[in-house]
Structures are given as C-alpha cells and as structure tokens.
Symmetry: C2
Subunit: 116 residues, 2 copies
DNA sequence: GGGGAACGATACGGTAGCGTAACGAAAATC
DNA sequence: GATTTTCGTTACGCTACCGTATCGTTCCCC
C-alpha cells in the first residue's frame, strides 16, 4: 500500500479534504490547533505545554490558548503532573479520538476518489 | 501510482505536513483561505466571488476578506469582468502558483517519508 | 531555608477573522 | 426609463488569535 502521489494528485487530495472540512465542520480549527491535536494523538505521551511549544516552534501561550479552545470543544484535557506539579500533562479524550478518526476516514475516502 | 493509505498513514501524513507548514510558513493561512486558494488554482477559471462562496458553502464577505488578505500576500489578484461589470474575476499569480507548488512538493515528500 | 530557575497561565494592546445587514454600481426586466 | 435583481464590497459589533511581558507556583540547588 504505497503512498505514491503525483504533485497534482497531492494538491487535489488536499483540496478535496480541505473543502469537505470547511463545508461540514463547524469547529474550524486553526492550522496550529490541528497540528497540536495531531501531535497529541499521534505521538506517544506524555505531552506538556513546553514540549509542544518546542515541537511546533511556537511560544507557550500559543499552546495554552489552543488547549483552552480545544478543551472547551472536548478534544483534549489537562491534568497536573503529580510527580512535578509545575508540569501539566495533556490527555486525550474520546471526542478527540473520534474527531481525528473522522478526519482520517475523510482523507482516505478523498484519496480513493482521487484515483477514480 | 495508487493512493492507498491506511487510516494511521493518512493522519500521519496530515500530521507531518501540518507540522512543517506551521514551522516554516509565516503566512499562516486559514483553512478557509487555503480551500479558496486551492479552488482557484485547481479548478478551471473563471472564478467569481459568488461562485467561490457557493462552492465552499460560506457567505460572500468571507470570500472578499480572504481575497483581500491573499491579495496582499500576492497569492491572487482580482479584475473587473468587462463583459459584466458587476462581476469580479479572480486571477492566479506566479507567487500563488509557487506557493501551491511548494505545498504539493511538501505533501509528496512527507508522503514518501510516511512509507519508510 | 533562601535565591534562582522552570513551568504554565494570565494580562495587555493589537490584528484579523466572523455573521448580519446595508450599500453602490451594473445589468435585467417590464 | 423606472423598478427590480444581481454582484461585490463595506460597515458594525463581536470573538479569537497573536506576541511580549509578567505572574504565581513548584522545584532545584547551595
């Protein structure tokens, strides 16, 4: 199952998925927020504010704000680290997992349509 | 050259590309703006404000504002339609084409890395 | 235990997006 | 030729994000 795209197909895939996302998803996450969400769900824990900031190359308030927003949306949760109570550990949620699962399905569906 | 992704690979691809995009691109386009840009460059012209609004399922001011912003970035241009001077025709630019070309290359590169 | 460092959150002023509503210009209709 | 419709833009009030700077808490280290 190779991932072998021509430049046109690659952009076409992005086009289809982005379009669909704009159409149906009322949540309208920022590019940064989506990057954070994917990082949390695709990279093994633990995740901290500082770590995410470093990984994305942004400042800490950006992470805090994104977690605020996505927390209200139920996509992530935060908990104090009991070992080092300065840290905050970011946790996944069922809703967040579902959100990304739908995104993954969307990409696959559009990727398949791309070859037709 | 099939586009055959597992759900994990699909999200992984999105993850890598989004991450890279956040890192390096100072332009930070909205999801909607990107959708508009892709629509303009991947679908045959002519493109109008009204047409784009209908295609994306958003209101006209959203398109106008996005074109303002992306116009300042040099990614698109607008011209009055001489046949029907109520219309505005959206034109592509060299910078816009380069921008999407780089995005396409990025997707391909990350897609390839995804299979390693 | 006192001084400093690390961590995340908050404050602040500024910018850019949003939706609704209204507007001016141009075409179409009668 | 006056009215209506169409098209894109602008105005308005609002919300959310931005970067910089600062804050409170917790840990570390001497």
């Amino acid at each position: 199952m190779p991932v072998d795209l021509t430049p046109t197909q690659a952009l076409g895939l992005w086009h289809e998925v982005t379009l669909q996302q704009v159409h149906q998803d009322g949540r309208d996450l920022t590019l940064r927020q989506l990057a954070i969400l994917l990082e949390i769900y695709l990279v093994p824990p633990p995740h901290t504010v500082r770590g995410l900031a470093a990984k994305l190359g942004v400042t800490k308030p950006v992470i805090t704000r994104a977690l605020d927003t996505m927390g209200e949306l139920g996509l992530v949760t935060r908990m104090r680290d009991d070992r080092d109570r300065r840290n905050v550990v970011i946790k996944r949620t069922v809703d967040g997992a579902l959100y990304l699962e739908r995104l993954g399905d969307l990409i696959i569906a559009r990727g398949r349509a791309q070859t037709l």
